[in-house]
């Protein structure tokens, strides 16, 4: 147990990733503000990315880390696009509340 505290093991990293992911998920579900929701999705990304890096390091295989670089790149592009969308949506309704866009209800 001490050893576990002094030298981090795979499970610690995975736990960190899972906590990040769950925080993002809960935030995504409970928030209405579109920017906050967007940030939450980013947080879920990071949770997954942490897991990937951890696996990569422990298996001595760089594929996971390479993958993470790509994910970060694409996430950056996606962030630009998503924020642009959010601005457009805001212009239409003068609000950031996602529930303003529930016209597709049954």
């Amino acid at each position: 147990m001490l050893l576990a505290l002094s030298s981090p093991m795979l499970s610690h990293y995975l736990l960190t990733g899972a906590v990040l992911f769950m925080l993002g998920l809960v935030g995504f579900i409970s928030r209405r503000n579109m920017i906050q929701m967007f940030l939450c999705t980013e947080m879920m990304f990071q949770g997954v990315v942490v897991s990937l890096v951890a696996f990569s390091a422990f298996h001595g295989n760089v594929t996971g880390q390479t993958f993470v670089i790509f994910v970060l790149t694409i996430a950056a592009a996606e962030a630009a696009l998503a924020l642009g969308l959010v601005v457009l949506l805001f212009r239409h309704r003068r609000t950031l509340d996602a529930s303003a866009w529930s016209a597709l209800n049954g």
């Binding site: 998920l25 995504f28 996602a98 529930s99 866009w101 209800n105 049954g106």
Partner: protein
């Protein structure tokens, strides 16, 4: 080839008229000329057929209509013709009278919006009717039979905007269905019994049986006894005899030329033709022909009493048609097929004439049909007046007119038959026939004196009839003027309408004289299948079938001479009485009508026959229909509604899931993944 052309020329014409009216509105006005021309051509072809048929039979095939099976089970029905003198006689009546009526109709229907439709129907009718009389097998005959029924339906319902016309058309069609059902069963039975529907083969077989029976070996089977009764039902339906007569008086809702052509001269005589054509089948059953004669005579008297009281111009002629058809059935019933056919021909002349002149009166008076409101038209419509007079003379059977000779041939033969067979039934029928003859003379001239004699006084009808169309279009100037005339005064008809009537009138007055003395009809009938069966062994050859009956004596006088004298007296007496009552001393008529008011009303109301049918047949059927409707609404429909309701119910349940909020979808997704994860975990660990 010639026989094939006779029906197909009108059939093609019907198609052509229908097609051109589809493409060019301005060609519609040629429809009448086309139709009349086609019928005229058929008439000429029929005339050219006469020498080649002579006293023999011309059989010709057109194509194999129905053909299946092989060997003993083979069933072949050809679209082929059997033309004997009886057929030619019918064809001459159909195309000859039909052509004249078509010419009249070109004038009568002028300006009607359905001008082309009318002539297309008439052409089609001529096709069906000629097919009916030329058919060499019962199935083809049935095709023509149904075809004329259809055309009758279409033509009665010609003014389809009038509810009465539509109701009358339906009534005619449905009542005829009853008769046709019997006819169809008769055809089935014929096929089962004879193994063929070929009329000539069937009749040969029937004659063999007759000969065997008359020689004392062999008997008619039960089927032989039943076939004529079933065929008879069809004949009674088509020819408007009791108890199926009810459709004919209503059928007058159609245009008047139709009443003349379909419901007086041709179609309604199809029943008489059928019995004449299949006479040997009827002779096989000892009860069939007496039944035919009895029904015919009772109908004749029955219809005559209604005609006596009717105040409807066309209604009187409609009932008199029913009555005269009854005479024809009496004729075939006492084996006087030549008398029946003779009366058929003369009746076609004078009844067509009467209907068409009635049409002229109607046309002149804007659809007025109530004879209480038409008086003394002789100055306004002199030609029509005397044309109708000619027709009335013939219908009344005044000596030397056509109706006199033909009716007396039937009554004389009936009396001779009664004397020969010492049959009380036929004595009674002859007596009823004579009474009817007197009534006929009386009611005919009641109408004529009322309409044309006495002080001039008339009221116009409320319809503007069919000239509406011309008026609305406002096309030709003369037409508009014609219409203006209309609104004010009755006027004489143009010669395009009166011309054919003059020919018909000549026929009504003279045809009887000519045909009586040259024995044309008797000759034709005796060389056809309508000749009564004469046993070769008992003397008398086929060509002399009626010879035996011509020498029956009644009270010391030849039956025919006796009947001629008696009915001459009665006809003249009837006309004279009508002249006194309805012209010279009208107050007698009014007093009598008041005195017997309930009786007159009862008869005018057709003895409540329509009400009785309504209560016993129509109303129960209507109730049954209402019941079925209720079952359909309540049970079948609720089940169907339930089936339709189930998806809606499911939708109602799951609709909240689709609430349009992205968070909910996210939650759903997460829960789904969670469930899957649990499942996978349990699966891998277990």
């Amino acid at each position: 080839m010639t026989p094939t052309l006779i029906p197909w020329i009108p059939a093609l014409t019907a198609g052509v008229i229908g097609l051109i009216s589809l493409f060019r509105d301005e060609w519609n006005r040629f429809a009448g000329a086309l139709c009349a021309g086609a019928i005229g051509l058929s008439f000429l072809l029929t005339l050219s057929l006469w020498p080649s048929v002579g006293s023999g039979v011309l059989e010709s095939g057109f194509y194999d209509w129905i053909s299946f099976g092989s060997g003993d089970n083979a069933f072949h029905v050809g679209f082929s013709w059997f033309v004997d003198p009886l057929t030619v006689l019918m064809l001459l009546v159909i195309t000859g009278i039909g052509g004249l009526i078509a010419v009249y109709a070109t004038g009568y229907m002028k300006g009607d919006p359905g001008y082309w439709r009318f002539f297309a129907y008439v052409s089609l009718f001529i096709f069906a009717m000629t097919t009916l009389v030329m058919a060499d097998n019962l199935l083809l005959l049935f095709l023509g039979w149904e075809g004329v029924g259809l055309c009758s339906y279409l033509l009665i319902g010609y003014y389809y905007e009038k509810p009465t016309a539509v109701a009358a058309a339906k009534k005619a069609f449905i009542v005829n269905r009853i008769g046709d059902f019997g006819f169809l069963l008769g055809i089935f039975l014929c096929y089962q019994h004879y193994g063929t529907l070929q009329i000539s083969t069937m009749l040969d077989r029937a004659r063999e049986t007759l000969a065997a029976v008359s020689h004392g070996h062999g008997v008619a089977t039960a089927t032989d006894l039943w076939i004529p009764f079933l065929l008879m039902v069809g004949a009674f339906g088509k020819s408007a005899q009791l108890p199926l007569y009810v459709w004919l008086p209503d059928a007058m809702a159609g245009p008047t030329p139709v009443s003349a052509l379909v419901h007086a001269a041709t179609m309604v005589t199809a029943g008489v033709y059928l019995i004449a054509r299949c006479l040997p089948l009827f002779e096989l059953s000892p009860y069939a022909l007496p039944t035919v004669a009895a029904v015919g005579t009772v109908t004749a008297l029955f219809a005559a009493t209604i005609a006596l009281t009717s105040n409807d111009l066309k209604g009187v002629f409609a009932y008199s048609t029913v009555s005269q058809l009854g005479y024809m059935f009496l004729g075939v019933g006492c084996l006087s097929t030549d008398g029946a056919m003779f009366h058929l021909v003369t009746h076609a002349f004078f009844k067509a004439l009467l209907f068409l002149t009635a049409g002229s009166v109607m046309h002149a008076l804007a659809g007025q049909l109530d004879i209480c409101k038409i008086r003394g038209l002789r100055h306004k419509m002199p030609v029509t007046c005397w044309l109708m007079f000619a027709g009335c003379l013939a219908l009344a059977g005044v000596p030397l007119t056509a109706g006199f000779f033909s009716k007396d041939l039937i009554l004389g033969d009936a009396l001779a038959y009664a004397v020969d067979h010492q049959s009380p039934l036929f004595y009674a029928l002859t007596f009823l026939g004579v009474v009817t003859a007197f009534l006929t003379a009386f009611y005919t001239f009641r109408l004529w004196f009322t309409v044309f004699m006495g002080d001039e006084h008339y009221e116009m009808g409320d319809e503007h009839h069919h000239n509406n169309g011309a008026h609305a279009e406002g096309t030709e100037a003369d037409h508009a003027a014609d219409h203006d005339d209309h609104a004010h005064e009755p006027h004489e008809m143009p010669w395009i309408m009166n011309g054919p009537l003059v020919i018909l009138a000549a026929g009504a007055l003279l045809a009887g004289l000519v045909l009586h003395f040259n024995h044309g009809i008797t000759h034709a009938v005796d060389h056809s299948t309508a000749a009564p069966f004469v046993d070769a062994a008992h003397g008398g050859d086929h060509g002399d079938a009626h010879a035996g009956e011509h020498h029956a004596y009644f009270m010391g006088i030849d039956a025919h001479v006796f009947m001629q004298i008696l009915s001459s007296i009665l006809a003249v007496a009837g006309v004279g009485l009508a002249a006194v009552v309805f012209w010279l001393k009208r107050d007698i008529a009014d007093a009598a009508a008041t005195r017997f008011d309930p009786l007159v009303r009862f008869a005018r109301h057709e003895y409540c026959i329509n009400e009785i049918y309504g209560a016993t047949i129509v109303e129960p059927l209507r109730r049954l229909g209402a019941l079925f409707y209720a079952v359909d609404r309540l049970i079948i429909n609720s089940i169907m509604d339930l089936v339709g309701f189930a998806p809606r119910l499911v939708g109602l349940g799951v609709r909240p899931a689709q609430n349009g909020r992205i968070q909910s979808y996210g939650l759903g997704m997460v829960l789904g993944v969670a469930v899957l994860a649990v499942v996978v975990l349990m699966a891998t660990s277990g």
